[in-house]
Amino acid sequence: MSDVSGSWTLPPLVYHPERPERREGWVDRLEATVTAWPVVVRARLGDPRVARLVASVNALEDQHLNMDEHALQTSTEALRVRLRRDGFSLDAVAEAFALVREVSRRTLGLRHYDVQLAGGYAMLNGMVAEMDTGEGKTLTATLTAATAALAGTPVHVVTVNDYLAKRDAENMGPLYKALGLTVGTIVHGLQPPQRQAAYGCDITYTSNKEIAFDYLRDRIALGNQPSSLARKLKRVQGSRQGEGTVMRGLKFAIVDEADSVLVDEARTPLIISRETPPDREQQWAETSLDLVKQLEIDRDYKILRTERRVELTRAGRDRLAGLGDELGGIWRSSVRREESARQALTALHLFQKGDHYLVQDDKVQIVDEYSGRIMADRSWSEGLHQLVEAKEGCTVTGQKVPMARITYQRFFRRYQRLAGMTGTAREVSRELWAVYRLPATRIATNRPTQRRHMRTRILKSAELKWQAIAERAAELSAGGHAVLIGTRSVVASETLSELLTDAGLEHEVLNAAQDKHEAEIIAKAGELGRITVATNMAGRGVDIPVDERVLEKDGLHVILSERHDASRIDRQLAGRCGRHGEPGAVQAMLSLEDPLLELIYPFIIRWTSALPRYCRNPVALFVFWRAQRRAERAHSSARRALLKQDQKLGDLLAFSGGLE
C-alpha cells in the first residue's frame, strides 16, 4: 500500500502520452527471441493470482447483489479513488470486477463467467487473452475497459471494423453508463469535432483503421513533434500548429481479434495523402501509355511476373530516348522518361482487372488480395493508379502524394499499455511477444465445445471440388442444416455462387461486392436450410444466430473451401459454428489445385495426385500442412523485415524527425 504522502499524487499529466520508439539493436532482437520461449510457456501456465481474484470476486458478489442503486454508485465512486491511488492491485481489481459484473447483470442481464474474469484480468495486465470463439469476448473486454477507465486511464477498444465498433459500443453502453463512464464511438465519416468528443470519452470504441488514421492526422497537425515543449515553443512563435488534434495520446488499447490486427494486418500501410492536379496527371498518363504502346515485348522490355516488375532492355531505352526527344519537356530526362515507361508497362501488363482491381462507376477500385474486399479510397502510388485509370478509360484522378504513413505494427507498438483478445493466438504468441511484448495466455472455455470436425476431403481438381461442395451444400440444406461456405477470394465466391445457381439452390453471397448488406446476411445465415457463401472477411467477430430447429440438427455447418495462408484463419472460420457451447460441424473440402499449394514443388503435387485413393488423403493433408507452414513463415519473416526496414528508414530520415 502506498503511504499518505504519495497517495494523492496523481500521475503526471503528459501531453499526448505514447511509448517512444525504441531503437532495437541486435541485442534487443536476440533478447526478444530468447525470452519468447519462457514467456510463452509462463503465459500458457496461467497466472496463479487469477484463482485468488476469481475467489474474491465471487465472494464480493453476494454483497453487491443486495446493494441498491445508490449504494452501488457510492461504492463506484470510492473504487475510482482507490484504483487511481493504488493502481491495479489485486484487491482493487477484484472489487472493480465484482462491481462491473453486478452492474452488467442489472443493466445488460449478462453476468460475467469466471473464465471471463480471468480473461479480463489477463488483459488488464497487458496480455493477449486467447478465448475460444464464441466465449463472449465483447463482454470480457468490459471488465478491463471499465476497470482501466475507472482508474482514469483513457481506454481504446479497437475492433476490426466499424460495424463491430458500433455494435459493441451500443450493446455495452448501458453498462458503462451505469458505472458513470462515458463511451464514444468512432466510425467512418465522423467530423473532427465529433471525433474529438468521442476520444474525450473514458472509453472509445473504434476500428483499427479509424484510430490509426486519426493518429496520423494528429501527427500531421502536430508537425510530427508530439512533445509538449515543441508545441509550446511553436505557440510562442505564433504558429497555430497542434490545433485540431482529436486524440489524447496512446494510453491503453484493448485490441479485439488481436492476431488479425497485430499480425495479419501488421504490414498494411496506412497513408494519408493529398491530391495533385488531375489534368496534368491525365496528360502524363496518356503520353506514357502512348509511349510504351510503341514498344515491343521481349525486345524492348521484359516482364518479370514473379517479382511483379518490368525491366527495360537497352534497345527499349534507346527507343524511348528517341521518342522522348520528340516529345520534349520532362520526357527529355532519361530518368523521368524511363520511370514513366516502366510504370506504364506495369499498369498494362501486371495489373489485371478482376484480380487486382475492379472498375465501378468510372472508378478504379483496388481489391485487397488478402480479404477480397474492395479498398475504397485506396490508390496505388507513383502514378500507377492514374495509368490504370487511363488504361481502363476512366476519368484520371489526381495522384495521391503521401503526407503521412504508418503501419499497424508501428502504430500499436506506441501504446503505453496494450492488451488483446482473440480466438486464435497460440500460433503467433512468440511473434506477439517479440514485436509488441505481449504475452498470450490461454483462457479456458466456460462450457465444453460441441463443435464436430469432420474428415477433410481432398479432391483432385478445383472443378471436382466446387462440384462436391455444391452437392454437399445441397444435401445439408435439404437435411435441415444451415450451411456457411468460406472462400478465399471474391472470384472463388462467385464461381461457387454460379454453380449453386445452376443447381437451383437458393443462397446468399457475402463478399467485397456486396458488403453493405453484411449485417443482414449474417443475421439470416443461421436460418433453416440457408446456404451462405462468404469470403474470409466473415470470419472475424461475427456471431451468427442459429435457428433453434437447426440447433436440434447439430447446428451450423461450416465448409472451408480452401485452406488459408495461416491456420488461424481456418480456425476462425471454423469458429463461426459451435459458439457458446452450441453444436456445430466443420468440414474442409480442398483440391490439389488450390492456390496455397503453389508454395510446394509441382512434382510433389503430381505424385500426390497419382497416389491411390486410400493413401492420397493423408499425404495430401501433409502437403497442405507444409504449404501452410511455409506461408506462415514467409509472412512472419516479411513482417520482421518490415520492422527492421522501418527502423533503418527512421535512422535515414532522422534529419526530418524520423518516421511518423
Partner: protein
C-alpha cells in the same frame, strides 16, 4: 537496380529547410582527373566526399529553400546527373549523421544524444573486438607544436631536405659497407631477453618523435593537430597524433608528405643511430642505437611504410595514386566484380571508380589480404615459439577476425542479400562450384607424399666391443676416435679377484704337483687321485688365466674406436658381455629407423626413395636405401635417443619401469646411407624422409579413416 526517380519517403523530407553548419568546410579536390568535393567537419574531424552533383545540391542548401525546391532546382541544372529522391534523402541523412546539417525545426535532442550514445558504444565495441588497437586521447598538442615551431621550422625547408638526403644517403652507404656486421645473427640478438626489454623501452620514444614529425609537417602545411594520445599496438603503448586535417590539404603531394613524415623522421633517426653504432663502444648506448635502427628499418619496411597494411605507407600510397579510401573500396570493387561476372547480377551497385583505378583496386585487395595473412602468420609463429599460450590466443583471434568474420559476412550476403534475389541460385552454384573445384584439386590431384620419422646412427653388431670378462675398467689403451687395427688392444679391465684367484690356483697346482712328485709309489690309487686333482687345478688355472687375458679387450676389426662417454668409463665395473665401445668402419654405419604403426604399411610397401637429414647439418640431405627390415612390429626402441626422454618423438610406456617399451608399436628398419662421409657419430639422431611418390589427399584421408575405424571398431 534501375534507379527510380521518386521515393515513397520523399514527403518526409521535402519540407525540411536544411543548411550546413558553419563549422563545415568544403574543399575542392581532384582525384584521377575527376572533381570531388571534400566536406570537412572541423569539430569531429570527419570527412565526406561528394560528387559535383551532390555538391551542387549542398550548395543550394541555404536554410531558406525547402528540400523540394532544392531538388527541383537541381533537376533543372543537372539533367541526367540528377540525384534521385532516394539519393537526396541519403545525402541529407549522411550529412545529418555527421552532424553538419542544421534544420529549420527544433533540433531533436533525444535523437542526437541517442546517436552520440550509439556512436560511443560502437567505439567501445570496436575496442573490445580489437583490444590491440585501443586509442586513448590524452592531450591537444596544437599549442605545443605552435610554440616549438620556430625551432623545427628551419628543418622543413630545402636546406633541411638537403641535410636529410645527405645524412640518409651516407647512412645507407655505411649500412651497405657494414652489412654483415649489422645482420650477423640478427634473430638471436633481437630476441634475447634484455634486447627485447630495451626494444620495448626505445620503441615508444622513437614513435613519439615519429608522430611529432607528422604533427609538425601538417602544421607547417597549414593544418591543425588537436589530438594526441596513446594507442596500444599489440599491448605496446605507442603514441599517435590525429592528423585527419590532412585530408583538407589540396595537393596530393602535401597529403603524401604528411603521411610520409613519420617514415622520414624514422629514417633520419635510424641514420643517426647507425653513426653512433659504428663509432660507439659496446654497451648500452650502442644497444639503443641498434634498436633505433631496427625500429626505423624493419618496422618501417614490414609495417609502417608498407602500403599493404593500414599504416602510414597506406595513406601515402593511396594519396599518391589518388585513390582515397583505397582499402575498403578495393574490397568492395572486388565484390562488385564477383557479383557482376560470377554471380551474373545484372546491375550491381558499382563502387565509384575513377578511370584507371580498377587495376589498383583489384591488385590492392588481393595483395593486402595475402600480406596481412602473411604478417599475422609470422607474428603468431614467432610469438608462439616463445609464449605458446599467447600465440594460440593470438592465432584464434586472428583467425576469427581475418577469416571468420569476413567469411561469415560473405555467407550472409550469399544467403540473405536482396541484391542476389534473382541470382541466388547462380551465386550459390558458382560459390559451391569454386569451393568444390578447390576441394577436388586438393583432394584428387596427386601431391608429393612422404613420411618423416627419426632414426639413430648405428653400427652393425660384429664391430661392437664387448667386455670379455667382468671387471673394472682400468684404462683405455687406444685413444677414443682413433683408428685401430684388428687385434689391437683397446681397453684394459682389471679384476683383482681374478688376479688373486690366479695366485691361489697357481699355488694349488704347485702344491699338487709337489704332492704328485712325492707320491707314494705303493699306493697307485692315491697317486691317481692327486693326478686327477692336479689336472683339475691346472684346467681351472688355464680358464682363469684366459679370463684374465680377456680383461684386455681387443679390436676385432679395423676402424674407428668409438667410446660413448669415454671419460666415464675408467673405474666403472662392467659385466661380462656388456657393450663397452664400438669399432666403427664408417662405411659400415647404418641408420636404424622406427616407423609408427600407422605409417608402417606405406613405408613397407611404397617407398620411392629415402633421404636422411642430420640434426647438426640441416641443409644437407643424404640418400639411403632400406638395408634390412624386421618383419614384425615391436614395442622396443633401438636407442633411447628416439624416445621423448632422449629428445626424440616416440612416447615410452610410463608403466614400464625399465623404460624401454613404447606405447605404440613400431616398425624397425635398417637403412644404408649412400655415403657415410658426413654421417654423425654413433648414436646420433637423424631425420629420415621416406618418399612415397605422389598421392592425392583423398586417398590419404581414406587410409587414415580406415585405420581409425580398424583401431576403434575393428571394421
Amino acid at each position: 537496380m534501375e534507379k527510380s526517380l521518386f521515393s515513397p519517403n520523399w514527403y518526409r523530407a521535402q519540407d525540411a529547410r536544411p543548411c550546413l553548419r558553419s563549422h563545415a568546410r568544403i574543399h575542392r579536390h581532384h582525384y584521377r582527373g575527376q572533381l570531388w568535393y571534400v566536406l570537412q567537419d572541423r569539430t569531429s574531424g570527419r570527412f565526406l566526399r561528394f560528387t559535383p552533383a551532390a555538391y551542387l545540391v549542398i550548395s543550394l542548401m541555404n536554410g531558406q529553400r525547402t528540400v523540394q525546391e532544392i531538388w527541383d532546382l537541381s533537376c533543372e541544372r543537372l539533367g541526367d546527373d540528377v540525384l534521385t529522391q532516394d539519393e537526396m534523402i541519403s545525402l541529407l541523412a549522411q550529412l545529418h549523421q555527421s552532424d553538419v546539417l542544421r534544420g529549420d525545426g527544433i533540433p531533436d535532442l533525444a535523437e542526437s544524444s541517442e546517436r552520440a550514445r550509439r556512436e560511443g558504444r560502437r567505439k567501445k565495441i570496436m575496442g573490445l573486438i580489437n583490444p590491440l588497437a585501443v586509442r586513448i586521447p590524452l592531450l591537444d598538442p596544437d599549442r605545443f607544436l605552435a610554440a616549438t615551431m620556430p625551432a623545427i621550422r628551419p628543418l622543413m625547408s630545402w636546406v633541411g631536405a638537403l641535410i636529410f638526403v645527405a645524412v640518409v644517403a651516407s647512412a645507407a652507404v655505411l649500412a651497405g659497407l657494414n652489412w654483415p656486421r649489422l645482420t650477423n645473427n640478427i634473430a638471436d640478438r633481437v630476441l634475447a631477453a634484455e634486447s627485447i626489454l630495451l626494444l620495448l623501452l626505445t620503441y615508444p620514444f622513437v614513435k613519439a618523435i615519429h608522430e611529432l614529425g607528422h604533427g609538425y609537417v601538417l602544421k607547417r602545411l597549414g593544418g591543425e593537430v588537436h589530438e594526441m594520445g596513446l594507442m596500444f599496438l599489440v599491448f605496446l603503448p605507442v603514441p599517435y597524433v590525429d592528423a585527419s586535417d590532412t585530408a583538407a590539404l589540396r595537393h596530393k603531394w602535401q597529403r603524401a608528405l604528411v603521411g610520409a613524415a613519420g617514415i622520414l623522421v624514422e629514417a633520419f633517426l635510424a641514420s643517426l643511430a647507425l653513426f653512433v653504432w659504428l663509432n660507439a663502444e659496446e654497451g648500452m648506448v650502442r644497444a639503443i642505437a641498434f634498436n633505433v635502427m631496427l625500429i626505423g628499418g624493419v618496422s618501417t619496411l614490414l609495417f609502417n611504410g608498407n602500403p599493404l597494411l593500414r599504416f602510414d605507407g597506406y595513406y601515402v600510397f593511396s594519396d599518391l595514386i589518388e585513390a582515397p579510401n583505397l582499402g575498403s573500396r578495393s574490397n568492395r570493387y572486388l565484390g562488385y566484380l564477383i557479383q557482376r561476372h560470377l554471380f551474373g547480377v545484372e546491375h550491381p551497385e558499382p563502387p565509384a571508380t575513377a578511370p584507371g583505378e580498377a587495376r589498383w583496386l583489384i591488385f590492392y585487395s588481393i595483395a593486402s589480404f595475402c600480406y596481412r595473412i602473411f604478417i599475422m602468420t609470422v607474428i603468431i609463429s614467432v610469438v608462439a615459439t616463445k609464449f605458446f599460450v599467447i600465440g594460440v590466443v593470438l592465432a584464434l583471434w586472428a583467425i576469427v577476425l581475418m577469416l571468420g568474420v569476413p567469411l561469415g559476412k560473405q555467407l550472409r550476403f550469399l544467403f540473405t542479400s536482396p541484391v542476389l534475389r534473382r541470382n541466388r541460385r547462380r551465386a550459390l552454384g558458382v560459390t559451391s562450384g569454386i569451393i568444390a573445384s578447390v576441394v577436388m584439386l586438393v583432394m584428387l590431384v596427386p601431391l608429393p607424399y612422404s613420411t618423416v620419422t627419426e632414426g639413430v646412427v648405428w653400427t652393425p653388431d660384429e664391430s661392437t666391443v664387448f667386455a670379455g670378462a667382468a671387471g673394472v675398467v682400468n684404462e683405455l689403451i687406444a685413444q677414443p676416435n682413433a683408428y685401430v687395427a684388428a687385434g689391437e688392444p683397446l681397453i684394459r679391465l682389471q679384476d683383482d679377484f681374478l688376479d688373486a684367484r690366479v695366485k691361489v690356483l697357481e699355488a694349488q697346482a704347485a702344491e699338487l704337483r709337489l704332492r704328485y712328485a712325492a707320491r707314494d709309489t705303493f699306493d697307485p690309487a692315491e697317486a691317481k687321485m692327486v693326478q686327477e686333482r692336479l689336472q683339475l687345478a691346472e684346467a681351472d688355472l688355464d680358464l682363469t688365466l684366459e679370463r684374465q687375458r680377456d680383461l684386455l679387450v681387443h679390436s676385432e676389426t679395423d676402424g674407428r674406436f668409438v667410446v660413448p662417454r669415454a671419460a666415464d668409463l675408467p673405474g666403472r665395473f662392467v659385466r661380462q658381455g656388456e657393450v663397452l665401445s664400438f669399432v666403427s668402419k664408417q662405411e659400415d654405419s647404418v641408420v636404424r629407423v622406427v616407423v609408427p604403426e600407422d605409417q608402417a604399411d606405406v613405408v613397407r610397401n611404397r617407398v620411392r626413395s629415402v633421404e636422411l637429414k642430420f640434426q647438426n647439418r640441416v641443409t644437407m640431405t643424404v640418400s639411403a636405401e632400406i638395408n634390412r627390415e624386421i618383419p614384425a612390429l615391436s614395442n622396443t626402441l633401438p636407442s633411447l635417443a628416439l624416445s621423448t626422454l632422449g629428445g626424440g618423438e616416440i612416447v615410452l610406456d610410463p608403466t614400464d619401469t625399465n623404460q624401454v617399451r613404447t606405447i605404440s608399436r613400431l616398425l624397425h628398419l635398417e637403412l644404408k646411407p649412400a655415403s657415410t662421409e658426413h654421417l654423425p657419430a654413433m648414436g646420433s639422431r637423424v631425420y629420415v624422409r621416406f618418399t612415397h611418390g605422389a598421392e592425392p589427399l583423398a586417398l590419404r584421408l581414406y587410409r587414415g579413416i580406415r585405420q581409425v575405424f580398424l583401431r576403434r571398431f575393428n571394421v
